[in-house]
């Protein structure tokens, strides 16, 4: 018997489910279970029937009552969670928003990267709440301290997740860190911006701005991470740009054509950068330059996404401050030609002022060599522009430098360089030719249009115009 039993059983044990079949079967069964959850109300109703031996009325009416009660409860629950999303600190539903809604969403983020993205989103939410309270004059000192604390908690949580991610996937950790830092940077810029005034009774968000700036500084002082591989960066850049285009298309109906074209222009710049990186990457030696370009493209895309998705950020900064326009080579040539012409006219104005009888001899003596140098420098640029080959950056630098010399001279001579300009006259186009110019943000499109109209020469491509106002999407 034992022998038969053993032999028979050993043979039977060879009949097994494959791992895939077993997993598939489990999935089907669990899915069924999930789609047919055990209804607590049903159980309670049955229990009610059994327990209420002496109350026939309850037996008859209990189930419908419970059904209605369940429906009302579910409706109230959904309504509460929905309303809680609009709550700000001090509202009765704020605790539901932070401790329930957001915690539920936190639990849905399964990977460390998703967790970083969500903690970043929570950080953005806290700042938006503070702004709203400030604009309504409701941001008390205590409330601001609470927001600062919450911001710190979220940024610490995100950094902790990044540290965890670093252990398993260092490249993903760099990308996650980029996401967090970009968001903090944009929020910090927008809070610092003096244009943000809110309503007349608005409170200051200085404490929050300082806290963010400090956080930004802390991350900036961290050792520079090793950049992810080219392919990883390229994939991430594609992901981020797709996200940005999706946001752009989703806000189409809510924004003006000018606002859309402002953002589209930046997207085109980013696409161009990515294409440039791809060209660079074809040469082995250029791999690190390509990666750096991609990092910049990703950061600019993320800034643009933060800009598009945060109404408060849009109200306090211009898109140009967050993502300055990157001019194409053709645009730079047109602008340089224009600026050189304007500078030459300014040289003539300064020379005329120097030749005037009222000008002191000592001043004339002091300024003449500088003006001569400016004239020569600008003439060299104009001549070089007529040749097929030249270094655009050097020429731009020369014109910028000469322009500064002329401004100083005009200041000393107490004349205005714009006096002679008429409406039809060409005016200089401000391009971010030098890093310091870009850093101070003086090269904004808005400014470019305030006093300066890009005058395209006949047959030359026209410099795209951008919106002068802050986009409201």
């Amino acid at each position: 018997m034992k022998r038969f039993s053993e032999q028979f059983q050993n043979k039977a044990k060879s009949i097994r489910l494959k791992a895939v079949e077993s997993a598939d079967l489990r999935e089907r069964v669990v899915s069924y279970m999930e789609y047919h959850p055990r209804a607590s109300g049903e159980v309670k109703a049955r229990t009610g029937k059994l327990d209420s031996k002496n109350s026939g009325m309850i037996l008859i009416s209990g189930w419908p009552v419970l059904k209605w009660a369940g429906g009302i409860f579910a409706g109230l629950f959904l309504l509460t969670t929905y309303l809680a999303e609009q709550a700000v600190p001090g509202d009765s539903l704020y605790a539901v928003k932070v401790s329930f809604n957001e915690e539920v969403r936190s639990s849905l983020a399964s990977t460390p990267y998703e967790k970083v993205v969500w903690e970043t989103e929570r950080l953005n939410r806290r700042i938006a709440e503070a702004r709203l309270l400030a604009s309504e004059g409701r941001l008390t000192e205590a409330a601001e301290v609470a927001v600062v604390k919450a911001v710190k908690v979220h940024s610490d949580n995100a950094r902790r997740e990044i540290a965890v991610l670093k252990e398993t996937d260092a490249e993903e950790a760099v990308l996650a860190s980029m996401q967090l830092e970009t968001s903090i940077e944009v929020q910090s810029t927008s809070l610092r911006n003096k244009n943000f005034a809110g309503s007349p009774q608005g409170n200051s968000t200085a404490l929050l701005a300082s806290a963010l700036a400090e956080s930004n500084l802390k991350s900036g002082s961290a050792p520079k991470p090793v950049l992810p591989s080219y392919n990883r960066l390229l994939a991430h850049a594609e992901q981020e740009t797709t996200r940005a285009y999706e946001f752009l298309s989703s806000v189409k109906s809510l924004s003006t054509t000018a606002e859309q074209s402002d953002i589209k222009r930046r997207m085109e710049d980013i696409d161009r950068s990515i294409a440039e990186a791809m060209t660079l990457a074809s040469g082995v030696e250029q791999d690190s330059s390509a990666r750096e370009l991609l990092v910049l493209a990703i950061q600019r895309t993320q800034r643009l996404v933060v800009f598009m998705t945060n109404i408060d950020v849009r109200q306090s900064v211009t898109v140009e401050e967050i993502v300055p326009v990157t001019f194409t080579k053709e645009e730079r040539i047109i602008a340089l030609t224009q600026n050189a012409k304007v500078s030459l006219e300014q040289v003539v104005m300064v020379e005329e002022a120097l030749g005037a009888t009222s000008t002191e001899a000592s001043l004339t003596q002091k300024l003449t060599p500088a003006i001569l140098e400016a004239r020569e420098g600008i003439e060299v640029v104009i001549t070089a522009l007529a040749t097929p080959e030249y270094d655009l950056e050097i020429l731009e630098g020369t014109v910028a430098k000469m322009s500064e010399v002329l401004k100083d001279a005009a200041l000393m001579l107490e004349i205005s360089l714009e006096q002679a300009s008429t409406e039809s006259d060409p005016k200089p186009i401000l391009l971010p030719v030098a890093e310091e110019v870009r850093a101070t943000g003086t090269a904004s499109t808005t400014q470019a249009q305030e006093g300066i109209t890009p005058a395209a020469t006949e047959g030359s491509p026209e410099i795209p115009k951008t919106a002068t106002s802050t986009p409201r999407i």
Binding site: K2, S5, Q7, K11, V29, T47
Partner: protein, 195 residues
């Protein structure tokens, strides 16, 4: 085996159900696979078994022993499958045999053991598919799923005596099939050596 209105929490119902899946799905598949001789069909039957059991559990019913309950549902589904295939029902099989299984009260577990000792388990396994399902069922329940006569009797809703008789007859059938198989093999071998 099961009752109504458990005091268990909703979570414990789900946990117990999932644990039962982990513990028994492989054994149920093996059983179904041997009974229906169709791997895909066996997987479907096991799936249906679990969904039916969940439907029962979610309606607020309490299940004391998942093992017995699962086998019971599985067995019913296998019978349904046979009915679909329009094979002979249990009754007709018994009618063909012309034997009242309850007429062998002397057949005990000991006699079953003694008979089994005379059979080659490996060959029996290969030939089990040739047995009518009612016999295949008890053999599998007894020797693969290792259920005792009482458990089998509860499962197939027959008396323990009938179960013992059926196992006994199944073993005899298997032995006869093995002998006949051996004979055929022997004849073939002789033929081949002559040619």
């Amino acid at each position: 085996m099961r009752g109504q209105n458990s005091p268990d929490s909703m979570e414990s119902h789900e946990d117990r159900y999932l644990k039962a899946f982990e513990d028994y799905h492989e054994a149920l598949f093996r059983h179904a696979s041997m009974r229906v001789s169709d791997r895909e069909k066996a997987i479907d039957i096991v799936h249906d078994t679990f969904t039916k059991v969940w439907s029962y559990a979610r309606s607020g019913q309490h299940i004391d022993s998942y093992r017995s309950f699962l086998y019971k549902v599985l067995n019913n589904l296998i019978i349904d499958e046979y009915r679909k295939r329009k094979e002979a029902s249990l009754d007709s099989l018994l009618a063909i045999d012309g034997v009242d299984e309850g007429s062998f009260p002397e057949l005990s577990e000991n006699t079953v053991e003694a008979l089994a000792a005379t059979i080659d388990g490996k060959k029996a396994f290969e030939l089990i598919a040739e047995l009518p399902d009612v016999y295949r069922e008890v053999i599998i329940l007894r020797f693969v799923d290792e259920l005792g006569p009482r458990e089998i009797s509860e499962l197939i809703e027959e008396s323990e005596n009938v179960v013992s008789v059926r196992i006994h007859r199944a073993l005899k059938m298997l032995r006869a099939k093995i002998d006949s198989h051996n004979e055929r093999t022997e004849k073939n071998r002789t033929k081949q050596s002559k040619t």
